[in-house]
Protein backbone atom coordinates (compact mmCIF):
# COMPACT_ATOMS: atom_id res chain seq x y z
CA UNK A 1 0.00 0.00 0.00
CA UNK A 2 2.91 2.29 0.51
CA UNK A 3 5.29 1.31 -2.24
CA UNK A 4 5.82 3.68 -5.08
CA UNK A 5 6.80 1.24 -7.80
CA UNK A 6 4.76 -1.44 -9.37
CA UNK A 7 6.47 -4.75 -9.05
CA UNK A 8 5.77 -8.23 -10.08
CA UNK A 9 6.47 -10.67 -7.37
CA UNK A 10 8.68 -12.74 -9.53
CA UNK A 11 11.05 -9.87 -10.20
CA UNK A 12 10.88 -8.17 -6.84
CA UNK A 13 14.31 -6.95 -5.77
CA UNK A 14 14.75 -6.58 -2.06
CA UNK A 15 15.87 -3.01 -2.42
CA UNK A 16 12.46 -1.92 -3.51
CA UNK A 17 11.02 -2.74 -0.12
CA UNK A 18 9.64 0.21 1.78
CA UNK A 19 12.26 1.36 4.23
CA UNK A 20 11.65 0.78 7.90
CA UNK A 21 11.39 4.44 8.78
CA UNK A 22 8.78 5.03 6.15
CA UNK A 23 6.78 2.10 7.37
CA UNK A 24 6.98 3.13 11.01
CA UNK A 25 6.03 6.74 10.53
CA UNK A 26 3.99 5.47 7.61
CA UNK A 27 1.16 7.26 5.96
CA UNK A 28 -1.37 5.62 8.26
CA UNK A 29 -0.35 7.76 11.18
CA UNK A 30 0.90 10.76 9.25
CA UNK A 31 -2.26 12.78 9.35
CA UNK A 32 -3.16 12.14 12.91
CA UNK A 33 0.37 13.15 13.85
CA UNK A 34 -0.09 16.36 11.90
CA UNK A 35 -3.28 17.08 13.85
CA UNK A 36 -1.26 16.87 17.02
CA UNK A 37 1.31 19.29 15.65
CA UNK A 38 -1.36 21.74 14.56
CA UNK A 39 -2.92 21.62 18.01
CA UNK A 40 0.36 22.40 19.71
CA UNK A 41 1.05 25.18 17.25
CA UNK A 42 -2.37 26.72 17.76
CA UNK A 43 -2.17 26.78 21.52
CA UNK A 44 1.40 27.96 21.25
CA UNK A 45 0.36 30.86 19.09
CA UNK A 46 -2.27 31.93 21.63
CA UNK A 47 -0.20 31.63 24.80
CA UNK A 48 3.45 31.13 23.79
CA UNK A 49 4.64 32.08 27.26
CA UNK A 50 2.61 29.38 28.99
CA UNK A 51 2.72 26.62 26.42
CA UNK A 52 6.37 26.64 25.47
CA UNK A 53 7.64 26.15 28.97
CA UNK A 54 9.74 23.20 29.91
CA UNK A 55 7.56 22.57 32.91
CA UNK A 56 4.33 22.57 30.94
CA UNK A 57 5.75 19.89 28.73
CA UNK A 58 7.07 17.97 31.70
CA UNK A 59 3.70 17.95 33.38
CA UNK A 60 1.88 17.07 30.22
CA UNK A 61 4.11 14.09 29.65
CA UNK A 62 4.12 12.97 33.26
CA UNK A 63 0.35 13.20 33.60
CA UNK A 64 -0.16 11.26 30.39
CA UNK A 65 2.34 8.53 31.21
CA UNK A 66 -0.16 6.32 33.02
CA UNK A 67 -2.75 6.49 30.26
CA UNK A 68 -0.07 5.84 27.67
CA UNK A 69 0.95 2.61 29.35
CA UNK A 70 -2.69 1.51 29.53
CA UNK A 71 -3.21 2.40 25.89
CA UNK A 72 -0.25 0.37 24.69
CA UNK A 73 -1.84 -2.73 26.17
CA UNK A 74 -5.22 -1.69 24.78
CA UNK A 75 -3.72 -1.43 21.29
CA UNK A 76 -2.86 -5.12 21.31
CA UNK A 77 -6.29 -6.02 22.66
CA UNK A 78 -8.15 -3.99 20.06
CA UNK A 79 -6.02 -5.33 17.21
CA UNK A 80 -7.24 -8.80 18.18
CA UNK A 81 -10.72 -7.29 17.74
CA UNK A 82 -11.26 -7.47 21.47
CA UNK A 83 -11.84 -4.81 24.07
CA UNK A 84 -10.73 -4.35 27.66
CA UNK A 85 -13.03 -2.30 29.82
CA UNK A 86 -11.34 -3.41 33.01
CA UNK A 87 -8.01 -1.57 32.74
CA UNK A 88 -9.00 1.31 35.03
CA UNK A 89 -10.27 -0.96 37.79
CA UNK A 90 -7.33 -3.28 37.49
CA UNK A 91 -5.08 -0.25 37.82
CA UNK A 92 -6.90 0.73 41.01
CA UNK A 93 -6.72 -2.80 42.37
CA UNK A 94 -3.01 -3.08 41.62
CA UNK A 95 -2.34 0.30 43.09
CA UNK A 96 -4.22 -0.45 46.32
CA UNK A 97 -2.77 -3.91 46.76
CA UNK A 98 0.74 -2.73 46.06
CA UNK A 99 0.46 0.14 48.54
CA UNK A 100 -0.99 -2.15 51.19
CA UNK A 101 1.70 -4.73 50.57
CA UNK A 102 4.41 -2.13 50.98
CA UNK A 103 2.84 -0.94 54.19
CA UNK A 104 2.44 -4.47 55.45
CA UNK A 105 6.11 -5.37 55.06
CA UNK A 106 7.15 -2.06 56.61
CA UNK A 107 5.11 -2.57 59.73
CA UNK A 108 2.11 -0.48 58.76
CA UNK A 109 3.68 2.57 57.17
CA UNK A 110 6.07 2.42 54.26
CA UNK A 111 6.69 6.15 54.02
CA UNK A 112 10.34 5.77 54.92
CA UNK A 113 10.86 2.40 53.32
CA UNK A 114 13.79 1.56 51.09
CA UNK A 115 14.35 0.01 47.69
CA UNK A 116 13.64 -3.51 48.79
CA UNK A 117 10.13 -2.63 49.85
CA UNK A 118 9.63 -0.60 46.70
CA UNK A 119 10.70 -3.49 44.51
CA UNK A 120 8.29 -5.70 46.41
CA UNK A 121 5.54 -3.16 45.80
CA UNK A 122 6.31 -3.14 42.10
CA UNK A 123 6.13 -6.90 42.03
CA UNK A 124 2.81 -6.95 43.82
CA UNK A 125 1.35 -4.34 41.46
CA UNK A 126 2.50 -6.11 38.34
CA UNK A 127 1.45 -9.52 39.55
CA UNK A 128 -1.97 -8.41 40.66
CA UNK A 129 -2.49 -6.71 37.30
CA UNK A 130 -1.31 -9.86 35.57
CA UNK A 131 -3.71 -12.01 37.55
CA UNK A 132 -6.70 -9.98 36.45
CA UNK A 133 -5.40 -9.98 32.90
CA UNK A 134 -4.98 -13.73 33.01
CA UNK A 135 -8.49 -14.13 34.36
CA UNK A 136 -9.85 -11.98 31.54
CA UNK A 137 -7.81 -13.87 29.00
CA UNK A 138 -8.87 -17.30 30.18
CA UNK A 139 -12.54 -16.42 30.33
CA UNK A 140 -12.39 -14.92 26.85
CA UNK A 141 -10.28 -17.55 25.17
CA UNK A 142 -11.35 -20.73 26.94
CA UNK A 143 -14.93 -20.05 27.95
CA UNK A 144 -15.51 -18.05 24.76
CA UNK A 145 -17.40 -15.26 26.52
CA UNK A 146 -17.39 -11.97 24.58
CA UNK A 147 -14.57 -9.68 25.75
CA UNK A 148 -17.02 -6.87 26.36
CA UNK A 149 -18.90 -8.89 28.98
CA UNK A 150 -15.84 -10.45 30.57
CA UNK A 151 -14.02 -7.17 31.00
CA UNK A 152 -17.16 -5.33 32.06
CA UNK A 153 -17.41 -7.99 34.72
CA UNK A 154 -13.83 -7.62 35.85
CA UNK A 155 -14.29 -3.86 35.70
CA UNK A 156 -16.85 -4.18 38.48
CA UNK A 157 -15.19 -7.05 40.27
CA UNK A 158 -11.72 -5.49 40.44
CA UNK A 159 -13.22 -2.29 41.74
CA UNK A 160 -15.23 -4.13 44.37
CA UNK A 161 -12.15 -6.11 45.35
CA UNK A 162 -10.06 -2.95 45.63
CA UNK A 163 -12.69 -1.42 47.90
CA UNK A 164 -12.82 -4.57 50.00
CA UNK A 165 -9.05 -4.62 50.43
CA UNK A 166 -8.87 -1.39 52.36
CA UNK A 167 -12.53 -1.05 53.25
CA UNK A 168 -13.14 1.70 50.74
CA UNK A 169 -10.42 4.10 51.79
CA UNK A 170 -7.40 5.44 49.98
CA UNK A 171 -4.11 3.93 51.04
CA UNK A 172 -1.32 6.28 52.01
CA UNK A 173 2.15 5.46 53.18
CA UNK A 174 3.76 5.31 49.75
CA UNK A 175 7.54 5.42 50.23
CA UNK A 176 8.88 8.94 49.94
CA UNK A 177 11.85 7.55 48.11
CA UNK A 178 9.60 6.14 45.45
CA UNK A 179 7.88 9.44 44.92
CA UNK A 180 11.05 11.49 44.95
CA UNK A 181 12.91 9.37 42.43
CA UNK A 182 10.39 7.65 40.25
CA UNK A 183 7.28 9.71 40.82
CA UNK A 184 8.58 13.21 40.43
CA UNK A 185 12.26 12.83 39.64
CA UNK A 186 13.70 13.73 36.27
CA UNK A 187 16.64 12.63 34.16
CA UNK A 188 18.06 15.27 31.84
CA UNK A 189 14.86 17.16 32.36
CA UNK A 190 12.67 14.26 31.40
CA UNK A 191 10.46 12.96 34.21
CA UNK A 192 11.50 9.44 35.14
CA UNK A 193 7.93 8.26 34.97
CA UNK A 194 7.85 9.42 31.35
CA UNK A 195 11.04 7.52 30.59
CA UNK A 196 9.41 4.36 31.89
CA UNK A 197 6.30 4.98 29.81
CA UNK A 198 8.42 5.70 26.75
CA UNK A 199 10.38 2.48 27.19
CA UNK A 200 7.16 0.50 27.59
CA UNK A 201 5.76 2.15 24.49
CA UNK A 202 8.87 1.50 22.43
CA UNK A 203 8.97 -2.13 23.51
CA UNK A 204 5.28 -2.43 22.71
CA UNK A 205 5.81 -0.94 19.27
CA UNK A 206 8.67 -3.31 18.53
CA UNK A 207 6.77 -6.29 19.87
CA UNK A 208 3.83 -5.47 17.66
CA UNK A 209 5.64 -4.64 14.47
CA UNK A 210 8.66 -6.88 14.39
CA UNK A 211 7.95 -10.08 16.27
CA UNK A 212 5.97 -13.22 15.82
CA UNK A 213 3.83 -12.23 18.77
CA UNK A 214 2.81 -9.08 16.95
CA UNK A 215 2.17 -10.94 13.72
CA UNK A 216 -0.13 -13.36 15.54
CA UNK A 217 -1.92 -10.45 17.14
CA UNK A 218 -2.78 -9.06 13.74
CA UNK A 219 -3.66 -12.49 12.39
CA UNK A 220 -6.05 -13.31 15.23
CA UNK A 221 -7.79 -9.98 14.81
CA UNK A 222 -7.89 -10.18 11.04
CA UNK A 223 -9.46 -13.62 10.85
CA UNK A 224 -9.50 -15.67 13.99
CA UNK A 225 -10.65 -18.79 12.19
CA UNK A 226 -7.84 -18.51 9.65
CA UNK A 227 -5.33 -18.13 12.44
CA UNK A 228 -6.71 -21.19 14.14
CA UNK A 229 -6.62 -23.20 10.94
CA UNK A 230 -2.96 -22.50 10.25
CA UNK A 231 -2.19 -23.88 13.67
CA UNK A 232 -1.74 -20.71 15.69
CA UNK A 233 -2.89 -21.31 19.24
CA UNK A 234 -5.54 -18.63 19.18
CA UNK A 235 -6.60 -19.33 22.74
CA UNK A 236 -3.08 -19.11 24.03
CA UNK A 237 -2.43 -15.95 22.12
CA UNK A 238 -5.58 -14.21 23.30
CA UNK A 239 -4.77 -15.17 26.85
CA UNK A 240 -1.32 -13.64 26.45
CA UNK A 241 -2.69 -10.43 24.97
CA UNK A 242 -5.10 -9.86 27.86
CA UNK A 243 -2.37 -10.88 30.25
CA UNK A 244 -0.19 -8.19 28.69
CA UNK A 245 -2.92 -5.59 29.03
CA UNK A 246 -3.49 -6.55 32.65
CA UNK A 247 0.20 -6.51 33.45
CA UNK A 248 0.59 -3.06 31.96
CA UNK A 249 -2.43 -1.90 33.96
CA UNK A 250 -0.67 -3.23 37.05
CA UNK A 251 2.46 -1.32 36.16
CA UNK A 252 0.34 1.76 35.55
CA UNK A 253 -1.12 1.37 39.02
CA UNK A 254 2.36 1.37 40.48
CA UNK A 255 3.26 4.45 38.44
CA UNK A 256 0.14 6.14 39.77
CA UNK A 257 1.21 5.37 43.35
CA UNK A 258 4.61 6.86 42.71
CA UNK A 259 3.18 9.95 41.09
CA UNK A 260 0.33 10.69 43.51
CA UNK A 261 1.93 9.33 46.68
CA UNK A 262 -1.32 7.60 47.52
CA UNK A 263 -3.35 4.69 46.20
CA UNK A 264 -6.69 6.16 45.28
CA UNK A 265 -9.74 3.89 45.25
CA UNK A 266 -11.96 6.28 43.33
CA UNK A 267 -11.43 7.57 39.86
CA UNK A 268 -10.09 5.78 36.81
CA UNK A 269 -13.65 4.93 35.80
CA UNK A 270 -13.17 6.48 32.40
CA UNK A 271 -9.64 5.24 31.83
CA UNK A 272 -11.06 2.42 29.74
CA UNK A 273 -12.93 4.71 27.38
CA UNK A 274 -10.00 7.10 27.26
CA UNK A 275 -7.61 4.34 26.31
CA UNK A 276 -9.99 2.92 23.73
CA UNK A 277 -10.52 6.37 22.26
CA UNK A 278 -6.76 6.91 22.06
CA UNK A 279 -6.30 3.64 20.23
CA UNK A 280 -9.11 4.27 17.77
CA UNK A 281 -8.05 7.87 17.27
CA UNK A 282 -4.63 6.50 16.39
CA UNK A 283 -6.11 4.64 13.44
CA UNK A 284 -6.58 1.18 14.91
CA UNK A 285 -9.78 -0.42 13.73
CA UNK A 286 -12.18 -1.53 16.44
CA UNK A 287 -12.82 -4.58 14.25
CA UNK A 288 -9.24 -5.69 14.58
CA UNK A 289 -6.48 -6.70 12.22
CA UNK A 290 -4.78 -3.37 11.87
CA UNK A 291 -3.31 -0.58 13.92
CA UNK A 292 -0.06 0.66 15.34
CA UNK A 293 1.41 1.73 18.64
CA UNK A 294 2.70 4.97 17.12
CA UNK A 295 -0.86 5.89 16.19
CA UNK A 296 -1.91 5.20 19.76
CA UNK A 297 0.76 7.57 21.04
CA UNK A 298 -0.73 10.36 18.94
CA UNK A 299 -4.17 9.27 20.04
CA UNK A 300 -3.17 9.61 23.68
CA UNK A 301 -1.62 13.01 23.29
CA UNK A 302 -4.25 14.74 21.19
CA UNK A 303 -6.88 14.82 23.96
CA UNK A 304 -4.22 15.43 26.59
CA UNK A 305 -2.77 18.43 24.76
CA UNK A 306 -6.24 19.68 24.06
CA UNK A 307 -7.39 19.51 27.64
CA UNK A 308 -4.28 21.13 28.97
CA UNK A 309 -4.27 23.79 26.29
CA UNK A 310 -7.90 24.67 26.89
CA UNK A 311 -7.24 25.13 30.59
CA UNK A 312 -4.19 27.26 29.89
CA UNK A 313 -5.86 29.55 27.42
CA UNK A 314 -8.78 29.76 29.83
CA UNK A 315 -11.67 28.41 27.80
CA UNK A 316 -14.76 28.37 29.96
CA UNK A 317 -15.10 24.99 31.52
CA UNK A 318 -18.42 23.82 30.09
CA UNK A 319 -17.11 24.57 26.62
CA UNK A 320 -14.13 22.30 27.09
CA UNK A 321 -15.81 18.93 26.53
CA UNK A 322 -17.49 20.42 23.48
CA UNK A 323 -14.18 21.62 22.08
CA UNK A 324 -12.55 18.26 22.75
CA UNK A 325 -15.42 16.49 21.03
CA UNK A 326 -15.15 18.65 17.95
CA UNK A 327 -11.41 18.21 17.62
CA UNK A 328 -11.65 14.44 18.16
CA UNK A 329 -14.24 13.99 15.47
CA UNK A 330 -12.54 16.41 13.10
CA UNK A 331 -9.17 14.73 13.53
CA UNK A 332 -10.53 11.31 12.69
CA UNK A 333 -12.53 12.72 9.82
CA UNK A 334 -9.42 14.30 8.34
CA UNK A 335 -7.47 11.11 8.82
CA UNK A 336 -10.13 8.98 7.16
CA UNK A 337 -10.60 11.32 4.26
CA UNK A 338 -6.90 11.52 3.55
CA UNK A 339 -6.54 7.77 3.70
CA UNK A 340 -9.41 7.23 1.36
CA UNK A 341 -8.01 9.79 -1.02
CA UNK A 342 -4.66 8.07 -0.97
CA UNK A 343 -6.20 4.71 -1.74
CA UNK A 344 -8.42 5.99 -4.51
CA UNK A 345 -6.13 8.58 -5.98
Amino acid sequence: MTTDEKTTLSTLPDEQRTPLLKRLTGANTLWIGLVLLVLVATFGAIRPDAIFQVTTLQFLLAETAVLLVLSVGMTFVIITSGIDLSVGSVLVFASVSSAMAMNAVSGGDATNAGWGVIAFGLLVAVVSGAVWGLLNGLLISRAKIPPLIVTLGSFGAAQGAALLLNNGSNVSGIPDKLNRTFGSGTYLGIPNIVIVAAVVTALGALLLSTTRFGRYTYAVGSNEEAARRVGISVRGHLTKVYLLAGTLAGLAGFMGNAFFRVAVVTGHETDNLNAIAAVVLGGTSIFGGMGSVLGTVFGVFIPAVLEKGLVIIGVKEFWQPIAVAIVLVAAVWLDQTRRRARNQR
Partner: protein, 254 residues
Protein backbone atom coordinates in the same frame (compact mmCIF):
# COMPACT_ATOMS: atom_id res chain seq x y z
CA UNK B 1 -3.06 -51.69 -2.30
CA UNK B 2 -0.80 -50.60 0.53
CA UNK B 3 -2.04 -49.51 3.91
CA UNK B 4 -4.22 -46.40 3.78
CA UNK B 5 -2.54 -43.20 4.96
CA UNK B 6 -5.77 -41.74 6.25
CA UNK B 7 -9.04 -43.51 6.68
CA UNK B 8 -12.36 -42.25 7.94
CA UNK B 9 -15.18 -44.58 8.84
CA UNK B 10 -18.83 -43.69 9.27
CA UNK B 11 -18.37 -40.04 10.08
CA UNK B 12 -21.48 -38.07 10.95
CA UNK B 13 -21.61 -34.36 11.51
CA UNK B 14 -24.69 -32.43 12.60
CA UNK B 15 -25.09 -28.69 12.69
CA UNK B 16 -28.16 -28.22 14.82
CA UNK B 17 -30.79 -30.07 12.86
CA UNK B 18 -28.79 -30.15 9.62
CA UNK B 19 -27.01 -33.42 8.94
CA UNK B 20 -24.02 -32.51 6.83
CA UNK B 21 -22.45 -35.98 7.04
CA UNK B 22 -24.51 -39.12 7.53
CA UNK B 23 -21.98 -41.86 7.89
CA UNK B 24 -19.36 -40.84 5.39
CA UNK B 25 -16.26 -42.93 4.85
CA UNK B 26 -13.13 -41.94 3.03
CA UNK B 27 -9.73 -43.41 2.28
CA UNK B 28 -6.50 -41.85 1.03
CA UNK B 29 -3.37 -43.83 0.20
CA UNK B 30 0.14 -42.41 0.28
CA UNK B 31 1.45 -41.10 -3.01
CA UNK B 32 -1.84 -40.94 -4.81
CA UNK B 33 -4.16 -38.23 -6.00
CA UNK B 34 -7.67 -39.08 -4.89
CA UNK B 35 -10.53 -36.89 -5.98
CA UNK B 36 -13.51 -36.36 -3.76
CA UNK B 37 -16.49 -35.35 -5.79
CA UNK B 38 -20.16 -34.74 -5.17
CA UNK B 39 -23.03 -32.42 -5.77
CA UNK B 40 -23.30 -29.03 -4.06
CA UNK B 41 -24.07 -29.63 -0.43
CA UNK B 42 -22.99 -33.27 -0.55
CA UNK B 43 -20.73 -32.70 2.44
CA UNK B 44 -17.31 -32.60 0.80
CA UNK B 45 -16.11 -29.48 2.57
CA UNK B 46 -17.52 -30.68 5.85
CA UNK B 47 -15.66 -33.94 5.46
CA UNK B 48 -12.42 -32.10 4.72
CA UNK B 49 -12.92 -29.95 7.79
CA UNK B 50 -13.41 -33.03 9.93
CA UNK B 51 -10.31 -34.64 8.47
CA UNK B 52 -8.12 -31.61 9.06
CA UNK B 53 -9.10 -31.01 12.66
CA UNK B 54 -11.12 -27.85 12.00
CA UNK B 55 -14.41 -29.43 12.98
CA UNK B 56 -15.05 -32.37 15.28
CA UNK B 57 -17.26 -35.06 13.77
CA UNK B 58 -20.37 -35.92 15.78
CA UNK B 59 -19.48 -39.59 15.54
CA UNK B 60 -17.19 -41.89 13.57
CA UNK B 61 -13.58 -42.99 13.66
CA UNK B 62 -10.35 -41.93 11.97
CA UNK B 63 -7.20 -43.90 11.29
CA UNK B 64 -3.83 -42.53 10.29
CA UNK B 65 -1.23 -45.02 9.13
CA UNK B 66 -3.50 -47.69 10.58
CA UNK B 67 -3.59 -46.13 14.05
CA UNK B 68 -6.82 -44.71 15.51
CA UNK B 69 -6.64 -40.95 15.62
CA UNK B 70 -8.47 -38.08 17.24
CA UNK B 71 -8.00 -34.74 15.51
CA UNK B 72 -8.99 -32.27 18.16
CA UNK B 73 -7.47 -29.18 16.56
CA UNK B 74 -5.94 -28.03 13.29
CA UNK B 75 -2.65 -28.22 15.09
CA UNK B 76 -2.82 -31.99 15.47
CA UNK B 77 -3.39 -32.30 11.74
CA UNK B 78 -0.52 -29.97 11.05
CA UNK B 79 1.76 -32.00 13.26
CA UNK B 80 0.93 -35.08 11.19
CA UNK B 81 2.04 -33.29 8.03
CA UNK B 82 -1.47 -32.57 6.80
CA UNK B 83 -2.16 -29.24 5.07
CA UNK B 84 -5.39 -27.94 3.62
CA UNK B 85 -6.62 -25.44 1.08
CA UNK B 86 -10.06 -24.56 2.38
CA UNK B 87 -12.86 -23.66 0.02
CA UNK B 88 -13.25 -20.32 1.74
CA UNK B 89 -9.42 -20.02 1.68
CA UNK B 90 -9.27 -18.85 5.35
CA UNK B 91 -6.68 -16.16 4.87
CA UNK B 92 -6.06 -13.16 7.12
CA UNK B 93 -7.34 -10.36 4.89
CA UNK B 94 -5.34 -7.58 6.54
CA UNK B 95 -1.98 -9.32 6.19
CA UNK B 96 0.04 -9.28 3.00
CA UNK B 97 0.50 -12.40 0.87
CA UNK B 98 3.91 -13.28 2.28
CA UNK B 99 2.66 -12.98 5.84
CA UNK B 100 -0.26 -15.25 5.00
CA UNK B 101 1.99 -17.73 3.29
CA UNK B 102 4.18 -18.04 6.39
CA UNK B 103 1.45 -17.67 8.98
CA UNK B 104 2.15 -20.05 11.83
CA UNK B 105 5.51 -20.95 10.23
CA UNK B 106 7.29 -17.65 10.44
CA UNK B 107 10.99 -17.43 9.72
CA UNK B 108 12.82 -15.75 12.56
CA UNK B 109 15.99 -13.72 12.34
CA UNK B 110 19.13 -15.68 13.14
CA UNK B 111 20.80 -15.30 16.52
CA UNK B 112 19.51 -13.48 19.56
CA UNK B 113 16.87 -11.55 17.69
CA UNK B 114 15.37 -14.80 16.57
CA UNK B 115 15.23 -16.07 20.11
CA UNK B 116 13.31 -12.93 20.96
CA UNK B 117 10.84 -13.79 18.24
CA UNK B 118 11.88 -11.13 15.73
CA UNK B 119 10.68 -11.96 12.23
CA UNK B 120 12.91 -12.13 9.21
CA UNK B 121 10.45 -10.39 6.94
CA UNK B 122 12.88 -10.07 4.07
CA UNK B 123 13.54 -13.78 3.89
CA UNK B 124 9.85 -14.56 4.07
CA UNK B 125 9.03 -12.11 1.35
CA UNK B 126 11.70 -13.49 -0.90
CA UNK B 127 10.71 -17.09 -0.41
CA UNK B 128 7.04 -16.28 -0.80
CA UNK B 129 7.76 -14.54 -4.09
CA UNK B 130 9.50 -17.65 -5.35
CA UNK B 131 6.58 -19.84 -4.42
CA UNK B 132 4.03 -17.57 -6.05
CA UNK B 133 6.01 -17.49 -9.24
CA UNK B 134 5.88 -21.24 -9.37
CA UNK B 135 2.12 -20.97 -9.53
CA UNK B 136 2.13 -18.28 -12.17
CA UNK B 137 0.63 -15.73 -9.79
CA UNK B 138 1.68 -12.18 -10.60
CA UNK B 139 0.89 -9.44 -8.14
CA UNK B 140 1.22 -5.77 -8.95
CA UNK B 141 2.43 -5.02 -5.46
CA UNK B 142 3.46 -7.44 -2.78
CA UNK B 143 2.75 -4.95 -0.01
CA UNK B 144 -1.02 -4.91 -0.28
CA UNK B 145 -3.19 -6.76 2.20
CA UNK B 146 -4.58 -9.96 0.78
CA UNK B 147 -8.08 -8.48 0.80
CA UNK B 148 -6.98 -6.34 -2.13
CA UNK B 149 -6.02 -9.27 -4.32
CA UNK B 150 -8.20 -10.67 -7.07
CA UNK B 151 -10.04 -13.91 -6.37
CA UNK B 152 -7.57 -15.96 -8.38
CA UNK B 153 -4.53 -14.34 -6.83
CA UNK B 154 -5.86 -15.10 -3.39
CA UNK B 155 -6.42 -18.71 -4.31
CA UNK B 156 -2.88 -19.02 -5.65
CA UNK B 157 -1.54 -17.83 -2.32
CA UNK B 158 -3.59 -20.39 -0.42
CA UNK B 159 -2.52 -23.21 -2.71
CA UNK B 160 1.13 -22.21 -2.57
CA UNK B 161 0.94 -22.18 1.18
CA UNK B 162 -0.49 -25.66 1.54
CA UNK B 163 1.93 -27.26 -0.88
CA UNK B 164 4.90 -25.61 0.77
CA UNK B 165 4.24 -27.14 4.16
CA UNK B 166 2.61 -30.51 3.54
CA UNK B 167 4.75 -33.54 4.19
CA UNK B 168 2.16 -36.34 4.18
CA UNK B 169 -1.20 -35.21 2.86
CA UNK B 170 -2.75 -32.18 1.21
CA UNK B 171 -6.46 -31.50 1.10
CA UNK B 172 -7.41 -29.16 -1.71
CA UNK B 173 -11.02 -28.02 -1.60
CA UNK B 174 -11.73 -26.67 -5.09
CA UNK B 175 -8.23 -25.20 -5.46
CA UNK B 176 -8.68 -24.25 -9.09
CA UNK B 177 -12.17 -22.75 -8.97
CA UNK B 178 -11.06 -19.17 -9.41
CA UNK B 179 -7.85 -19.74 -11.33
CA UNK B 180 -7.08 -18.65 -14.85
CA UNK B 181 -6.21 -21.17 -17.53
CA UNK B 182 -2.46 -20.86 -17.01
CA UNK B 183 -2.57 -20.93 -13.23
CA UNK B 184 -4.86 -23.94 -13.28
CA UNK B 185 -2.38 -25.88 -15.39
CA UNK B 186 0.40 -24.97 -13.01
CA UNK B 187 -1.55 -26.17 -10.01
CA UNK B 188 -2.37 -29.48 -11.69
CA UNK B 189 1.31 -29.93 -12.49
CA UNK B 190 2.26 -29.18 -8.93
CA UNK B 191 -0.33 -31.66 -7.68
CA UNK B 192 1.26 -34.36 -9.79
CA UNK B 193 4.75 -33.43 -8.67
CA UNK B 194 3.73 -33.48 -5.05
CA UNK B 195 2.14 -36.88 -5.51
CA UNK B 196 5.36 -38.14 -7.04
CA UNK B 197 7.18 -37.04 -3.91
CA UNK B 198 5.02 -39.55 -2.05
CA UNK B 199 2.55 -37.10 -0.57
CA UNK B 200 -1.13 -37.93 -0.82
CA UNK B 201 -3.32 -35.31 -2.46
CA UNK B 202 -7.07 -35.11 -1.93
CA UNK B 203 -8.62 -32.99 -4.63
CA UNK B 204 -12.14 -31.66 -4.55
CA UNK B 205 -13.38 -30.30 -7.84
CA UNK B 206 -16.54 -29.90 -9.86
CA UNK B 207 -14.57 -30.01 -13.10
CA UNK B 208 -14.86 -33.63 -14.26
CA UNK B 209 -12.28 -33.53 -17.05
CA UNK B 210 -9.83 -32.06 -14.57
CA UNK B 211 -10.67 -34.75 -12.05
CA UNK B 212 -10.13 -37.52 -14.57
CA UNK B 213 -6.92 -36.06 -15.89
CA UNK B 214 -5.14 -35.64 -12.59
CA UNK B 215 -6.40 -38.28 -10.18
CA UNK B 216 -5.58 -41.89 -9.57
CA UNK B 217 -8.82 -42.66 -7.76
CA UNK B 218 -12.17 -40.97 -7.31
CA UNK B 219 -14.52 -41.21 -4.35
CA UNK B 220 -18.06 -39.92 -4.65
CA UNK B 221 -20.05 -38.35 -1.84
CA UNK B 222 -23.80 -37.97 -1.97
CA UNK B 223 -26.06 -36.65 0.78
CA UNK B 224 -23.31 -37.02 3.32
CA UNK B 225 -22.45 -40.61 2.47
CA UNK B 226 -19.86 -42.25 0.23
CA UNK B 227 -21.79 -43.83 -2.63
CA UNK B 228 -19.09 -44.89 -5.06
CA UNK B 229 -15.34 -45.38 -5.59
CA UNK B 230 -13.61 -45.55 -8.96
CA UNK B 231 -10.19 -45.98 -10.44
CA UNK B 232 -9.79 -42.90 -12.57
CA UNK B 233 -8.51 -44.92 -15.50
CA UNK B 234 -11.62 -47.14 -15.50
CA UNK B 235 -14.33 -44.55 -15.42
CA UNK B 236 -15.88 -41.76 -17.43
CA UNK B 237 -17.49 -38.40 -16.90
CA UNK B 238 -20.91 -39.95 -17.42
CA UNK B 239 -20.33 -42.54 -14.75
CA UNK B 240 -19.10 -39.95 -12.28
CA UNK B 241 -22.09 -37.70 -12.91
CA UNK B 242 -24.38 -40.67 -12.53
CA UNK B 243 -22.86 -41.48 -9.17
CA UNK B 244 -23.10 -37.88 -7.96
CA UNK B 245 -26.73 -37.49 -8.95
CA UNK B 246 -27.81 -40.81 -7.56
CA UNK B 247 -28.51 -42.42 -10.91
CA UNK B 248 -25.87 -45.00 -10.07
CA UNK B 249 -24.88 -46.50 -6.73
CA UNK B 250 -22.31 -49.05 -5.69
CA UNK B 251 -23.47 -51.37 -2.98
CA UNK B 252 -20.11 -51.72 -1.28
CA UNK B 253 -19.00 -48.13 -1.37
CA UNK B 254 -20.12 -46.97 2.07
Amino acid sequence: MSQPLLEARDLTKNYGTVEALRGASFTAYPGEVVSLIGDNGAGKSTLVKCLSGVEQPTSGTLFFDGEPLVLDSPNSARDLGIETVFQDLAVAPDLDPAANMFLGREILKPGVLGLLGVLDKKAMRRQAAEHFTRFGATLQSIDVPIAALSGGQRQSVAVARSVAWASKLVFMDEPTAALGVVQRERVLEVIKRVRDEGIAVVLISHNMPEVLSVSDRVEVLRLGRRVARFKASDTSVEELVGAMTGALTQEDAA
